[in-house]
Structures are given as structure tokens and as C-alpha cells.
């Protein structure tokens, strides 16, 4: 069921990346590599291109120079074959307010690949059990964030790309998410994220990439 352990050749590499926005070079000549069981935390001041880099890694945006490789092949050429391994939670939660919590997760699952956890189990993991039939518009901002993060669990994604995952979460929520991330990496998953908070992940190989430097 779990393909997480069966893909030893999966590796995310960025080579000589540069992104330009409104005639301003955000970063150039950037390189990085993430292996299975590793996390990459992207740091930097506001406006240094953290979100842009994450969107490039997802394949939403094309880097202006350089290329991003997945297992040695360009992600642009792989297309959906790459996207099936990627789960992205961005600034916007990507949650439909008109739908219930369970309907939202069912949709994510239909678009991706079936994950190892059922919808009920995933909701229990993010402490939203019992909210299955509540409309997402009735959730608080923090709860909606946790619902967005539950999306990572219902699909079978090797690479998690998280943009400020702790936004609007309380200390308890941050603890939950840190635990999920550490568990994912320990199972051989990959994680690329940005955060203003100090991220505490024990016993994990964490690389840091500072864009302001």
C-alpha cells in the first residue's frame, strides 16, 4: 500500500535556479538536493522569494533559469507523473467553504492517489475527529489550516511542500503538525517548507537554505 518506502531513487534536485519577479532578481544560481528521509527548510526575510521557490518546486511556476529534477528527470517533462508524488499546502488553504470537511478530503483524494490513512484516521490525526459533516465555512482559521494539512495524509505523497504551515495555528496545533512532519520524514518521506517559527524536529536530517544570505 505504502509506496513511500519503495522508491529509493526518488530525489529532488534544484540546479542553478533563478527567479525574477517584476524585474527584480529574487535569487539566482540556487541549488539544493533533498533525499528520501530528509527535510529542507527554506529561510529568509520577507520578499526573498521563499514562496516563489516553493511554487517552482511544485511545478506551478517555471523557474526563469535552471531546472528542477525529480529522480534525474525534469519535473516539467514528468507533469502529472511528478505531481502524484507531491502534496502542496500554500498560503491559501485550498479548502472549499461550501463543502463539508469530509467532502473536501474526498475531493483531494480523488485528484491524487489513495493514501495509507482513511479520511476518519486523517481527521483524528489533526484532532478534527467528529467534524466530518461540518461545513468548512463553519471552521475557525486554525481548524481550516489543520483540514488543509489533513490533505497531506489522505493522499500517498512522498514529497510535502509546505508554505508557512504554522500560520494561524495555536501552540497545540503547531505541536500536532511538527509531529506529523517528523513522522513523515522518519517513514522515508521528503519535506520542503518555509517557516518563521523555529521548527523542532528530532532525529531528522534537516537541511537549511537561507535565501537572504
Amino acid at each position: 500500500m505504502s509506496s513511500t518506502a519503495t522508491k529509493p531513487d526518488a530525489r529532488l534536485t534544484g540546479r542553478a535556479l533563478s527567479c525574477i519577479r517584476d524585474d527584480r532578481t529574487l535569487f539566482s544560481g540556487l541549488g539544493f538536493g533533498v533525499d528520501t528521509g530528509e527535510a529542507l527548510i527554506i529561510e529568509g526575510r520577507n520578499g526573498t522569494g521563499k514562496t516563489t521557490l516553493l511554487r517552482a518546486i511544485c511545478g506551478i511556476r517555471r523557474p526563469d533559469e535552471g531546472e528542477i529534477l525529480w529522480g534525474g528527470e525534469s519535473i516539467e517533462r514528468l507533469g502529472p507523473d511528478y505531481h502524484r508524488h507531491v502534496a502542496y499546502v500554500g498560503h491559501n488553504d485550498g479548502v472549499k467553504r461550501e463543502l463539508t470537511v469530509a467532502e473536501n478530503l474526498r475531493m483531494s483524494r480523488a485528484l491524487g492517489s489513495e493514501g495509507r490513512l482513511s479520511i476518519e484516521e486523517a481527521l483524528r490525526k489533526v484532532h478534527l475527529a467528529g467534524f466530518e459533516d461540518v461545513a468548512a465555512s463553519n471552521l475557525s482559521a486554525g481548524q481550516r489550516r489543520r483540514l488543509a494539512l489533513a490533505r497531506l495524509l489522505v493522499t500517498d505523497s512522498l514529497l510535502w511542500v509546505l508554505d508557512e504551515p504554522f500560520t494561524s495555528l495555536d501552540r497545540h496545533g503547531i505541536g500536532i503538525v511538527e509531529e506529523l512532519m517528523a513522522e513523515h520524514v522518519a517513514r522515508g518521506g521528503m519535506l520542503v517548507m518555509t517557516s518563521h517559527h523555529e521548527v523542532s524536529m528530532h532525529r531528522t536530517a534537516v537541511h537549511r537554505l537561507n535565501l537572504s544570505a
Binding site: R55, C58, G59, I60, R61, R62, G79, P80, H83, R84, V86, A87, Y88, G90, H91, N92, D93, G94, V95, K96, R97, E98, L99, E103, R106, M107, S108, R109, A110, L111, G112, S113, E114, R151
Partner: protein
């Protein structure tokens, strides 16, 4: 999950959302009825003139109603971030685009189709032309939605894309309007309209083949 289940799930999702936001669903239909019923008031009680104008009036009103509703195809998905999730799906985006456009047509186009015979009769359109009117709209309105989707995908990232959207899309709507209204006009005069109907069907197939690919590419541009 397979491509078919993703297609059906997305179609279902959009229909459920539309049902839960019913007021938005009624707007294009209301617009269609209102615009059509303004003509007799403006033109005056000249039944012959109205009957002569009926094909054009119904078609122009349907076209404007479709244009008015276009923005809803991708706007709310863009705002809440679900559009990004669609682009990152494991399924080809062009197939998902067809699901979204089909849902949009079922919500906004199909009601127009059902209302058109009533409005045609109301304007004095001869009864032998009603069938052609419905059939021409059946071919025409999905083509309007498909072509419009390209325009919406291109302008969804702009804060005020409304006017640009009309400028982009209206010229492409012109051939559909000409042949659609022409077919109904012919039928009203008792002339065979088969040729126009074939061309309408060709437009539909043409837009069904090209639009999903173009829309998917335009969405990538808008989101990057």
C-alpha cells in the same frame, strides 16, 4: 485513482457547490428572461417586427447571459486556492477542465435551453422554429462555455478582468451567434436550416477539442 473517478468527483463537487449557492445559479437565467422581455417594451406592440427579430433577440440574450456567468467557472477556485490543487493533480488538467466546464454548462447553459422555447413563443416566433431554436442552443451554449473558459483562465489572475474578458471572448462568439440566429431565422421562414446546424455542431466539436488544452495552458500562465 483513475481519471474517470477524478472527472466525476470534480463534476459532482461543482454541482454540489452550485446547489448550495443557489442564488448565483439563478442570476444568468433571470438576466436572460429580463433582457428578452425588455424588447417588446422597447420596440412596441408590433407583433410582425418582434417575430422577425425573435431569433436574434433570444440568441443575443443567451450569449450575454453566458458571458455574464463565465467568471464563476474559475474565480472562486482561484480565490480559495483549490485551483492550485487542481493544477497539481495527478490527472491531466485538460480533463479536469472539461469536468468544470460541463458542470458550468449544466448549471448556467441548460436552464437557458429549457427557458428558450417559452421566450421564443412569447416573442411570436413561429412554432416550427422552436425545435431549431432549442437545437441550435444545444450546440451553441456548450461551445460558448468552452470558448469562454479560455478567456476566464487567462484573466482569472487579474483583479478586474471583466472588461478584458468580454473583449477577448466576444469576437470568438460572433460566428456562433451568426450561425445560431441564422438557423433559427431560416426555420422561422420555413427554409431548411440543416447546413447551419452542421456548422454549429462543427463549432462545438472544434471547441471541445481545442479549448480544454488551451484552458489548461492558460491556467498555468495565470497561476505562475
Amino acid at each position: 485513482m483513475s481519471i474517470a473517478s477524478a472527472f466525476l468527483a470534480l463534476l459532482r463537487r461543482d454541482l454540489v457547490i452550485a446547489f448550495r449557492r443557489r442564488s448565483e445559479m439563478v442570476n444568468p437565467l433571470l438576466f436572460f428572461v429580463l433582457v428578452t422581455s425588455l424588447f417588446p417594451l422597447g420596440v412596441g406592440s408590433q407583433p410582425k417586427l418582434l417575430a422577425l427579430m425573435a431569433p436574434g433577440v433570444v440568441w443575443v440574450a443567451a450569449l450575454l447571459a453566458a458571458l455574464l456567468s463565465l467568471d464563476t467557472i474559475f474565480r472562486s477556485d482561484f480565490e480559495d486556492g483549490t485551483l492550485e490543487q487542481l493544477l497539481l493533480s495527478a490527472q491531466p488538467v485538460s480533463v479536469l477542465v472539461i469536468a468544470k466546464v460541463l458542470a458550468h454548462w449544466l448549471i448556467t447553459g441548460l436552464p437557458l435551453l429549457l427557458m428558450a422555447p417559452l421566450l421564443g413563443t412569447f416573442l411570436g416566433l413561429p412554432s416550427q422554429a422552436i425545435g431549431t431554436l432549442v437545437l441550435s442552443l444545444l450546440f451553441g451554449t456548450p461551445a460558448l462555455s468552452l470558448i469562454g473558459a479560455i478567456g476566464v483562465a487567462l484573466t482569472v489572475g487579474l483583479r478586474k478582468g471583466g472588461v478584458i474578458l468580454s473583449l477577448l471572448v466576444l469576437p470568438l462568439y460572433v460566428p456562433i451567434l451568426i450561425f445560431g440566429a441564422g438557423a433559427v431565422g431560416n426555420a422561422a421562414m420555413g427554409i431548411d436550416a440543416t447546413a447551419q446546424m452542421y456548422i454549429m455542431a462543427a463549432f462545438l466539436i472544434f471547441s471541445l477539442t481545442l479549448s480544454p488544452v488551451a484552458t489548461a495552458a492558460a491556467l498555468r500562465v495565470s497561476l505562475s
